[in-house]
Amino acid sequence: MATANVTSASAGRLLGNLRLPIGIVLFLGISLPILGIDQFVNALTLGAIYALVALGYTMVYGIIELINFAHGDVFMVGSFVAMFISSSLLGAEGSITNVPMLAASVLLLFALTIAVMALIGALIERLAYRPLRRAPKLAPLITAIGVSFILQNIIQFFFGPTIVTVPQLVPIEWSIQVSGSRVPLLNIFVIGASVALMFALQVFISRTRTGRAMRTTSMDRDASSLMGVDINRTIMITFLIGSGLAGAAGVVHGLYYGNTSFALGFQSGLKAFTAAVLGGIGNTAGAALGGFIIAFIEVGASAFGYGRWGGAVVFSLLVIFLVFRPTGLLGSHSGDRA
């Protein structure tokens, strides 16, 4: 009896572990022929951006149970910081065709933007959220909404309410041929860079000492504190990483779309949050998965001429998931919460 239980449990666990890869393969296999290769690559790229932003939401929620409403706007600020760095500091006006130059510039752009945004994110945590850590739960949420409005208006004040052009450092003409379709190298680079960052995050959370502190803090803050985990430091690092990833998403957004605006954060932030909920909030792998799903829904909707309804579909999905399956697709069993 007991043995049978163990066997079925381990079979269940195996199935549970395989659920994600099987799901992804099925999902991609179905959407490729429906969307066609151009839209497919498009959706993957957009998905990478959403996933990077969603990771910040899910990490912060996992650790302090706060819907960091301002996170979408941190992403938006990141896109402006990237714009400022590439046009002012690097002096770029368009694409750079010299390969070593390009590699150095892009690397510098990523590093600087991530660093600046990580600092801004940690600063917001220190000033706006930390004083309210023991307050009723809605207080930090309301503060986060306030921070979101303030960030939007600072950017609007300095850069105006219109769409701002961002230099596309990677030449969009460079492309490779995949079964008759032209796939820009830029997209491949964007997807590759995002996946690399997500992978690095997973390794960081599961393998390092700080990652373990993050996991224990999200499980039981008081107990971790008693075990010698520096809670304030751990939460600050969570904000550093989450905001840094949003900064990376901002760089990617600028490289890919070539523009940005002060209003970017609200809509994409809400979509990225939907992605985090879809994947199971607090679950980093789920957030990444959710990001890609949201992107495929949005790109699919516009590919079939319902682009205007894309937003409404995504938000309906958010409502439906929160009501009927608040744990999301992958759930958030404490093991991989961060």
Binding site: R133, R134, G146, I154, V319
Partner: protein
């Protein structure tokens, strides 16, 4: 409740004691006095130099509309403790209800007065429709669901152009009239001022009576400890639904009045910023304190539409370099943000705290430094 037992002291003790016992009458008299005093005040310097009395009256009308919205939202947030971030959606539904019932776009011209009621009913229906599946959710999830709803409604209004004329919105909405006696016009702001103030009085009296009713005490209980309320036999889901329905129906009625006042509705009037402006008024005034919230709304409205506009003209007149490039009116949104953050950090009970809330937020001071 405790109000009657509180001792009244000071020079006007008998008057205050009288109005404490007859609060509805007190609200009526107070609003009546204020509604006469405010226009008179605009005739004295420096207020008479800012804009004409008619423009002032118009501004007061809009401020009162905004204050009613804030009071309605306060029922949901302040009384029942549910954070509703999509409140503008109900405001929109009320506005579009009247727009479709009385405009050249639909070709129907129903009278204004029954539509007031219809706006309230439409609001309440949608409040229940949204609330029924979602009110079981935890506080922060509920906030996001209502936010999603608040986004879906304007998107739908914008895209369903066959019924709503899309981004253009519905214009030429009928003004109210009392047949044979009074026709409201865009030029004369006084009838609308009177109508809005009457509604304002009624809404405020209703909310105060609700607060002291059995239902109001139920909301108190749910807000302070939902589990304890439930174990004491309170049907929390029904009570929360009632809070949603009351809040939404007030927004619906106010939406009808607002549509009749400005005679046009467009999806852009009901974006997220509107929900947040009402939230800022609630937080500024003090969650749970009806008069405080109404005052908060007046302060915010007058600040953003009078003071910021004045700054614009001032800077233009003196031709100060750099500064005259700035449109100060755009700062109203940053104002909401600053109000929300500063109030939550420094004075979460609001400028005029509700008695109960003062006690509720008191332990906050202990934990102020966070975990150390």
């Amino acid at each position: 409740m405790t109000r009657i037992a509180d001792a009244v002291t000071g020079p006007f003790a008998p008057v205050r004691a009288f109005f404490r016992r007859h609060r509805s009458l007190g609200i009526f008299v107070g609003v009546a006095l204020l509604s006469i005093a405010l226009p008179l005040l605009t005739r004295v310097p420096p207020f008479d130099g800012i804009q004409s009395t008619n423009a002032w009256v118009n501004a007061f009308t809009t401020a009162a509309i905004y204050a009613m919205l804030a009071m309605g939202l306060n029922v949901v947030i302040g009384f029942a403790g549910l954070l509703d971030l999509g409140y503008a959606a109900f405001f929109a539904l009320g506005g579009y209800t009247y727009a479709l019932a009385a405009s050249p776009f639909s070709g129907i011209h129903l009278p204004f007065w029954p539509m007031l009621l219809a706006g309230g009913i439409v609001g309440a229906i949608f409040g229940v429709l949204l609330g029924a599946p979602t009110l079981r959710l935890r506080g922060d999830y509920l906030a996001i669901v209502t936010l999603g709803f608040g986004e879906i409604v304007p998107i739908t209004l914008m895209n369903a152009d066959k019924f709503t004329d899309g981004v253009n919105g519905i214009g030429g909405i009928d003004k109210p009239s009392i047949p044979g006696i009074l026709q409201f016009t865009l030029i004369n702001p006084w009838p609308m001022y009177g109508l809005v103030l009457v509604l304002f009085t009624l809404v405020m009296i209703m909310i105060y009576r609700l607060e002291d009713s059995r239902l109001g005490r139920t909301w108190d209980a749910i807000r302070e400890d939902e589990l304890a309320a439930e174990s004491s036999g309170v049907n929390t889901v029904i009570a929360k639904l009632q809070a949603f329905a009351v809040g939404a129906s007030i927004a619906g009625i106010v939406g009808v009045v607002n549509a009749a006042k400005i005679t046009i509705v467009t999806p852009d009037q009901f974006r997220f910023a509107v929900s947040i402006s009402a939230l800022a008024a609630v937080v500024l005034g003090g969650m749970g304190n009806t008069i405080g919230v109404a005052t908060g709304a007046f302060i915010i409205y007058l600040f953003q539409s009078i003071l910021l506009k004045q700054l614009n003209t001032l800077v233009e007149n003196f031709n100060i370099p750099v500064l005259n490039q700035i449109d100060f009116l755009e700062f109203q949104y940053v104002l909401y943000g600053i109000v929300l953050v500063l109030m939550m950090l420094k004075r979460p009970q609001g400028i005029f705290p509700a008695r109960r809330r003062m006690r509720e937020f008191a332990p906050l001071k202990i934990g102020k430094g966070g975990l150390k």
